[in-house]
Symmetry: C2
Subunit: 155 residues, 2 copies
């Protein structure tokens, strides 16, 4: 339903939200989110382009979120890397049909709109505060390993 790219972007953003103010290298994020490094690097570029993350260069450089987790909804990373497209005009390009949708495409557009609303209704902060006590992202709640702190930055 959501693309793998979108799901990976969400993993990365949730991981960064768990490490506020700590510039984190792509290798560190990749390790803890289990996303291939090269794939993740491209996703981080898209997140940065959308203004959700920024990259700091240098020895202690890395990626950080530019906003607090309370100001990032689950829709934001998705729209940054693999946007959800509403059906806003007849996909069959029927002359004179234009923005009037037939029942099939109106129904599908309603479903798409509901998905966007559902993702927009949940902030990253809400995942972090989840009452279940589980780590907000599978396996990524652990402290970063000591070895990662001396890894060469690659942002």
């Amino acid at each position: 339903m959501l693309s793998q790219t979108a799901e990976y972007a969400l993993r990365a953003v949730v991981y960064l939200a768990q490490h506020p103010g700590e510039p984190t290298t792509v290798e560190q994020i990749a390790k803890h989110t289990q996303v291939p490094v090269g794939y993740l690097a491209k996703i981080l570029q898209q997140l940065a382009r959308a203004g959700l993350t920024s990259a700091q260069r240098g020895l202690h450089g890395g990626h950080i979120l530019t906003r607090s987790p309370a100001q990032i909804t689950l829709l934001d990373p998705v729209m940054a890397v693999d946007p959800i497209h509403r059906i806003d005009r007849c996909p069959l390009n029927i002359n004179g049909h234009g923005h009037e949708l037939c029942p099939l495409h109106r129904t599908l557009d309603n479903v798409i709109a509901a998905v966007a609303r559902s993702l927009q209704a949940v902030t990253v902060a809400a995942l972090l505060e989840d009452a279940s006590g589980a780590a907000p992202l599978c396996g990524a709640g652990n402290a970063r390993p000591a070895t990662a702190a001396v890894a060469l930055p690659s942002i």
Copy 2:
């Protein structure tokens, strides 16, 4: 959100529902739904494999629905050609995590479940009976052209 394959399958099923009891060739369906013929032929194979359509060979052969439009929901063609997958276990394969989902993946699974429920709640018959009076599928409400009736069947 929905794949192009799924959307094309829905177009084909709605078109067939508009022509009950009329075996329809892949070329006819392709023309009215604006789906490439080769692509559509593969989709029709998948719909047949799922039991939604059947193909009748011969001069007046073609594809028909095997059930009434009231017994086909929008979820059926989607599941036949490009299934919606629930997240039923930890996508990061965390040891000991298994079927317990973290807040991120539980939230995403809830969204996926809602999409499936929304598609399942609408039958193809409901699209045909839509009160707006619009053709249920853009442009496909027209009668089949006379020339199509003598086209060689290709099912």
